[in-house]
Amino acid sequence: MGTRLNILSWQLQLQGGLDLAGVPSLHCRIYVLLLATNLNVTSFELKLMSRRCTHKLVGCGDTETNLKTSSFRNALRGWNVQYRDRDVNTVGAQTPDEWPPLKCHKSPCNHHVVDDRQVKHWAEFIQRGASKMTSFFDYEKENNALLNALRDEYKDLIKLISQSEASIFVPQSVSLENLDISRDLVETHLFYTNIDKPTQFVTQNGVLGTFNTKKTMLSVISPPQALVTSPTQFDPLAISPPTLFKSQRAQFEGYDCDRPKSPIHVLREGHITFEGEHKIHVPLVLISEPLQYNDCAWDSKMAAQDKKSKEFGIRKHHSASTVDLSKDRSPERSNSIVTGTIRPKNLLSDFLSGLNVPINTPFFPDSPEDRQTVTADPNPQPKKPTRTQLFPTKLKNAPDVLAAIRGFEREFLNNPPKTIEDQSKLFRSGLDDIENRILAHPLWKDAEEEEIEDAEESIEKYMSNKLFTVIFENHCKAKETANTSLTNRIHRLRFIQPHHLDIKPDIIDEESLRAAQKELNRLNNYKTPREKLYCIWNCCRAIYNSLKGTNDANPSGADEFLPILIYVVIRANPLHLFSNIQYVSLFRHPNKMITEMGYYFTHLVSAVTFIETVDSKRLSIDPDEFQRKFNGESSSIRGRSDSSESVVTYPPPRSDSVSDLVLFGEEDNVNMMPTQLPLQPTTVSTIVPASQSSVQLTYLDHDYEQLRVTDVANLLREYKMLAEENKRLRNMMGK
């Protein structure tokens, strides 16, 4: 279990940006891993649920079709996983296709449920593959020619090491090819560091050398010094290389260790264990190439090798040519070996294919804008079948436009503005510039309005996908307080029922509410502003589709709609709602915000603004009841909190409220703003879970088979809230 946990967390680090420090359980890591898999590798979604310590893997294809086991394999294929099959005991079956077949059985709810053992199996595969991938260091330990020579031929040197404080330099295998592992070479690679000045080292045969201060490089200062004159006659007590530190001090001090001449790179540090009569544990430094000095036996061969390398255009330093080893090194080298790479395929890397294959297309219905055009226009233009391909095709022949797109992307990524407002300005002006290039371009001279719009959409989509991490994820981090306080506030308002908002009970059914909630919870899954808008629109449509007209002359309009939306937002409490709203409002083309999509987005902003400012006066609720429920009904720690100074204040700070995004920014209009809620200061008691559980655990009574892939985000959110509450509670108990 322990190793599995390590492996999983390690993989998550590789996915980048996911901090799992706060996720303690294995189960959560697994499912976060799978979530990450979904986001970064493919649109395939997977979820691993844990219930009474058994793992169930329930997966769906992107249109909620059944789990296809091949999808899982495809997801892993991107990682280039290799594994060694223990049973057959051969290295082989390198691709997931060759894995043992997976047995599935059908569950009542139409998912394929893969049984526990299969999941374990997969985990093992990943683990083995991972160890294979990471363990080039292990590989070197086992197979390096120098180490082998030590083990087999120069056992006396091992004995020497065991009696002294020596460490070993191990030149990576590639650099040792064609070299005879002579005794001299081995001795040159046994070294001692100066206890007083850890950058300095001398080797067993008296070569002086130094590391740079960061210990990422080393270089040789001088050839073997006189002390070791007869390397074949070893008396470790008589000949002690460390004495050179004193006698050759001048040489060391005359050398600038941070400006090394012909440096050798340090690739890894670790330990190696030599089995034998006595197990010995020796520090080991993996380096890019062997140490050399004038007239050393391997000097000429190295030179020949260099020459050969140059002929093939390979750079001299093996560290540079064998990229796998050096470039993946984490900046902070650690003695642990858990720093390999599994690189997910970047599905968005190819711009053109990115345009051709819209991400998550199956999730989206026809655009409402399209729909309207068709219904409102009496003579709708028949759509050309190639419409979506038109722009990429033309783009191929417009290198200047393409270059502008690329150039802007680079410019933005290299030097992103600090605030999201400035990012938005740069983003829009960059897109406008590209659009102008298109409009001025001969290829688009006779283009229809629709075609230009398609092109704009494509560019916006491409760009927002590319810049998503820089913009959105950073924003989520920067505005974490705003996000959390909105989430918390919504969470505390979850007692609100339809009748508090005067929603007539017969006006809408539970099923539609759930559908709307589900749509809204997807908000955080998408990257482009347009996709996020669709998500909101889908939510609203789910509400509208089920709204029953009332029984008099009033058809259902915004009067009926808004309260329901508010109710749905409270129930859904989507992840990073604050950031999502700001992102859409700042990065969606302003022209598009006047359409139906923009209208529903405005409703969402409006709903959130209401939530941010709501008090008992705006609800059909008794003020005392409101306060009591809002503050949580637990009174267990209330007495304690009254005297406590640790007051957490909600609502969110004014400068970060959603209403500011869309309202008028001038000071004299402040009185027109929704008044900030004169809430009682939130005390400790309010953030302590109520006696039962103040965290809404929607899925507590669910069986895994009832869960859908789309529930993952919610599950994670609930888990986080639970963890947060737990943390706070513990902190408070600590005080």
């Binding site: 409102a376 150039g407 802007f408 509208y544 029953k548 008099d552 006047i594 603004t609």
Partner: protein, 200 residues
Amino acid sequence: MAEKQFKIVLLGEGRVGKTSLVMRYCQNVFNDKQNSTVQASFQNKRLNLDGHRINLAVWDTAGQERFHALGPIYYRDANGALLVYDITDNDSFVRVQNWVKELRKMLGGDIVLAIAGNKSDLERNRVVSQERAEEYAAQVGAKHFNTSAKLSKGVNELFLDLTQRMLAAGGVATKRQPVVEPTLTFASSTENNSSGKCCG
């Protein structure tokens, strides 16, 4: 010919019939005493007026008092506002006055206002006199109409007049004009290497 797009925000207390009014205009239906799934929150209407192609986007808002403070979120960027009251309900007329005050304060003269006294088919129950309403409208630079969504009276006139006045105030042109000289030239230095990669 460029299409001009106008945003009209619909303000009025719940139950004054603002939704019906828009439904009548945009879809020419009136939903009387029957269940319907037709929704009327957001409506588009295309029309030709004085040689202009015009697209009206009508934004319905929630009229309940508890949502009053959310008004600005909806009426920012609006070209016109249609304020609806019920001639049989004095409170609804007071609400209209509040909105007008707000709109003028927030948007000044930039927004074109029309006030509709709806349910004119219920003339015998009228409590807001026509003189009073018209006088008020004139005061605030709005135009007043008596409408009946039920009988389809005054509705077209109302929207036509509102559109004409928005047109006079200047609308949003949606057709883009190419700018020959791009203002940003950040990409010029990198054109060569990037173009090859993408097309390949």
